[in-house]
Subunit: 423 residues, 2 copies
Amino acid sequence: MKYSEMNAEQLAAEKKSVESLYEELKSKGLKLTMARGVPAPEQLDLSINMLLHCLDGDCRSKSGADCRSYGVLDGIPEAKELFTDMLGVEPSEVIVGGNSSLQMMYDTIIRAMQLGVLGSEKPWSKYDSVKFICPAPGYDRHFAMCQALGIDMITVEYKNGDLDIDEVERLAASDETVKGIWCVPMYSNPTGITYSDETVRRLAKLKPAAKDFRIFWDNAYCVHHLSDDRDSLLNIIDECKKAGNPDMVFEFASTSKISFPGGGISVICASKENIDFIKKQMAFQTIGFDKLNQLRHVKFFKNYEGIEKHMRAHAAIIKPKFDLVEYMLEKELQPRGIGEWTHPKGGYFISFNAPEGCAKRVVALAKDAGVILTDAGATYPYGKDPHDSNIRIAPTFPSIDELRQAMELFCVCVRLAALEVRV
Amino acid sequence: MKYSEMNAEQLAAEKKSVESLYEELKSKGLKLTMARGVPAPEQLDLSINMLLHCLDGDCRSKSGADCRSYGVLDGIPEAKELFTDMLGVEPSEVIVGGNSSLQMMYDTIIRAMQLGVLGSEKPWSKYDSVKFICPAPGYDRHFAMCQALGIDMITVEYKNGDLDIDEVERLAASDETVKGIWCVPMYSNPTGITYSDETVRRLAKLKPAAKDFRIFWDNAYCVHHLSDDRDSLLNIIDECKKAGNPDMVFEFASTSKISFPGGGISVICASKENIDFIKKQMAFQTIGFDKLNQLRHVKFFKNYEGIEKHMRAHAAIIKPKFDLVEYMLEKELQPRGIGEWTHPKGGYFISFNAPEGCAKRVVALAKDAGVILTDAGATYPYGKDPHDSNIRIAPTFPSIDELRQAMELFCVCVRLAALEVRV
């Protein structure tokens, strides 16, 4: 029976019953964390050969470069190829970096603040304020980065399962201090949304007031399908070229959730003109990234087909976890009419919307009973969810058995929080 | 016979003879580079086991952390230990980073510009100008970094084989926009100078006008002795503590010239308060550096004694190259009384001072005959050597035979340039 259809007496009885369920689960002394999108150890074991045969003493790029030594700022050609094939770009449109695409994003923005990007009239920090458009719910580290670097955030909520492109167009055109937009365009963190073709085309055709506006295209989950039933995403770099805005996008990706989260390789893609400009700035920061790790990845994956195959092995491990979460939510919450959740075809998250005003309470209840969830609000700029509703469920790290226990508790917490509001 | 003692006729005859020597060498079509301090392939082979046995599948830090995964921003404890033993600091005074200490320096400065350092009243970029004291001749990449980030440089020439600490004290105290000083305090690039104990103590006792003044202590060559006849350097972090200036220094080092230039690990050391402040800023840039490479280094070197032993093997390879350069200079130039050069006990360079006004010409002559040297002027801020005299000789990369040919040509170029000025 739906909570909305219960009378006061029924709700009170249900609350009493759920309270006792909660106490029972709490007494089990769980210690689980589902706070972040982290691959499980079994997923990392898929790349064990990188820690065994490794390079077998080899250290030469096919370009002839000794990968042990200095240089090759933009990455060895065979590492570029892995990414050009994955992302549909040219080698001249790529810099292969170190172990963190987050670092590439941060470095890109702090350089923009201090020095400007290609076409900037002045460094961004010379404006009284700089603003970024932040689709939400979104990735907390994007928002935290803006906050740390003094960039104001304008929240734009998703609409009908896609970016609210009308609002984005309006905001970009409104003010030359609006310098950028954060996008996780495929299997978005946390919503699982993939931008429609129309949305990508309209983004590519944006007419921002700022000549040095940039789309920060964090394509973190571009090959992270859960099955053969896949979303597809238009190539933003192609679309920007077609739209006469070739320099308007910086695309980022990495192997953090392909090989190793802490020991992968990252990439920034953009127009050749952007890349040349970035390389000139970057040459003062470093002589080059770790080419041995780039070579290690090439030798392990061989080519893009190797990555594709590898991702199927990841999916085989994590798909059952997504299935379990959806099963538990359907079984426990659907009949009671509380909460809404996404059905992603890829990525690392299920986005759950609790009844308005309940998210913080759900997270606190779960924490008190030993299950750590992402902080409520974290998926919104400044950590403030205007509805206090969104909770990011990250099912990949726990084992199936742990996940079952955690979700059992989670559903009880949602029921209890929903009842507390009604009773 | 010294050129200074030759009459016009003798000089003309000598010039003619040297010109023909130069043409003869030029006709050999050499193609050699001594432009940068790069280890030879044989030196990199010393660490081949890192590319063979590598990790043998192991990926656990002794802390329990899975080095494949996210996190541990400041580095795994066993990697910290390598550096704490090497540099005489506490684990809480260390962040172990990625493959580039240059990147750590750049990131430190761009954060200072954008956000400030511990104790800053405001970000450095909010001043009309920011200045760094730049002992010269020095490391070109330090100077280029300042120029790229809009920091003005004040050149302070070395004096009597040591830092001109009187002048440094005066400059630091003169103006609150003087925010830092670059130091390569041991086997300095390119002079080979190691700061005396008095100099280090007076640096630690500086009374800068800027409360957020920082010594950038690039201890790049701290274990890079050429033999058992070693220089020694006081511990700046200890001395700053004793002097009541615990937060005034950022120390940098790396394994770039210990293991692999492109695939090593780097470190920043500073007071715990500085490190805590930096970690808070850095947490927005990255979730953590490559811990697998940190673990790889620990497994290979085991401990600081392992590094010490390894450096003796490096010395065995490069000491003969330094000996050869000094031998050639003594044989070819000393009798003719042209040029002065250093006799370093470690590091990667011999610093050569050509007769005033001759450095650019020497480098150009060498280039025309197929030997690339570091650009004349590169060792001074803005690339401008006021004496047009200093040339950095980097003997490590070529083979002994190549180096002999290169130095033969070099000496002829110096003679020719010196004669062109006199005749």
